[in-house]
Amino acid sequence: MYVAVKGGERAIENAHAWLAEERRGNTDIAELSIAQIREQLSLAVNRVMAEGSLYDPDLAALAIKQARGDLIEAIFLIRAYRTTLPRFGASEPLDTGIMACDRRISATFKDLPGGQVLGPTFDYTHRLLNFKLAADGEVTKAPSRDAETGNVPHVTEFLNREGLMEEAPHDDTPPPDLTREPLEMPADRALRLQALTRADEGFTLGLAYSTQRGYGRNHAFVGELRIGSVPVEMDIPELGFAVEIGEVILTECETVNQFTGSKTEPPQFTRGYGLVFGQTERKAISMALVDRALRWEELGEDNVGAPAQDAEFVLYHADNIQATGFLEHIKLPHYVDFQSELELVRKLRREAGAQQVQEAAE
């Protein structure tokens, strides 16, 4: 019994010991190091950083190791750790226009200032199992050159000059903080984007896909997808100016969406936006599509009742840590509630039975 009246404490201790053993697996096999996970499972590390909302590849790698490769469990470990960290302040807004891009593609223009950079992508690989990797993972050195430096202009700016692109007015309102204030509706775009950037990748992907298949369709072009490192600057009060305190790798996706105009807006292209920690392009593109779908109201579009248009539905169900916790809590004992249901069902059955007997007698 998993909950004997006594002995729960010992059962938990034993379960933890067994779990630790299972995590390690066969001890004849060399143990994974944090550095190995960080270097060789870097996309898993990126996902854990993105959905854990904490940029620290080593801690994310540790969490993956501890979680036996269960990424949602690893994200949970990072979130729980993140809560305990003191806050020194906020950085200056990042400028992705000066990103040192490893990858930068546009699906809307064949060529553009700054050029197209394919970067380390799976896109054109043939998905054939590489059995050579099972034997040894040695690689030949890829040709290299320095990253483009300086300004890499955003594609949407070119469209903007022609007035074809929806304006994104400058706004200095401090964004709300999802991790410090309870999520309340209606949520403005800054808050929605904040929730989406840490949202579950699978959930976001499914929603984005649903918009492509017609549930709130807003045909999206990838105006631009860029991945690279961006410096983080912070204003130091003692100095009176901002200094660079490090850099983060980000994936940014801007979609350009068809828009034939509404009662309030002229025909033009509209924007969807995705920005996610690390190389996480599936998530960033999904985020941009869902962001665009959620903007129906401010663009004066019709609500066609699609799930991706429903901010309350999307935002309250996108967090995998909330979802997995509540889902899995049904493993906890519920015998008190179940007992009261048992009694109710028995009572209703008794009465229904008595009624039938009476009807038969009549």
Partner: protein, 283 residues
Amino acid sequence: MTEYNFAYLDEQTKRMIRRAILKGLAIPGYQVPFASREMPMPYGWGTGGVQVSAAVLTPKDTFKVIDQGADDTTNAVSIRTFFQRTAGVATTTTTSDATVIQTRHRIPEEPLHEGQILVYQVPIPEPLRFLEPRESETRKMHSLEEYGLMHVKLYEDISRHGHIATSYAYPVKVEGRYVMDPSPIPKFDNPKLGDMAAIQLFGAGREQRIYALPPYTQVVSLDFEDHPFEASKADHPCGMCGATDSYLDELIIDDAGGRMFVCSDTDYCEVRQAAGHKRKDAA
């Protein structure tokens, strides 16, 4: 453990939670939004209760945790251990010795006294949630005191089944104003909610809500004049201590489906057995 602050949360967070608690006590039954934190246990496993407990615990407190009425169920053990480690507070299983009791799904049988705090873990704080899934709508309904939908639901139960078909998480009205979800306690426990000497605090972590009942608050289970509320339990005495006034769990004891009924409140049962109330099944 020295890496973490007393009772795990940092002082700013505890202050934010205490403010929500005070607001909740000032407006009994009203759901106060609060910036729930990620805790090192999963959402849905008592994170709301844990945050409320962390905010009210002091080093001098004596802490008790029950789940389904029992001190030794796995999650109760886990939460008690958490506060032993992070707050170093004294713990107990004796209801009358505890100053803070965190509970899931039960109210102890023994009446609580002044100075005690009962902290409930709440999964879905919104009593109207399964009638209206949108938070923006239900908040409006509460502010307009628009509870017709709930009464219609209860009425439909009666017309269909002859009874109100809600056996736990049975909705209550607080001081004639807010309809409140008492958390999934069996309706047997509902009469204990009102006029209680202890402070009752409700924490819903995932849903980011805190609500409260100050001592001696009027709490009425919703009903109709011709279908009055009735607290129910299994019609048996406890197989261990013989109590006839306690809520009972049903155990299946053999392959033939033989059954036994025992107190869900383990402390209540043990105290009675120690006082000489024993039945044939008692160890």
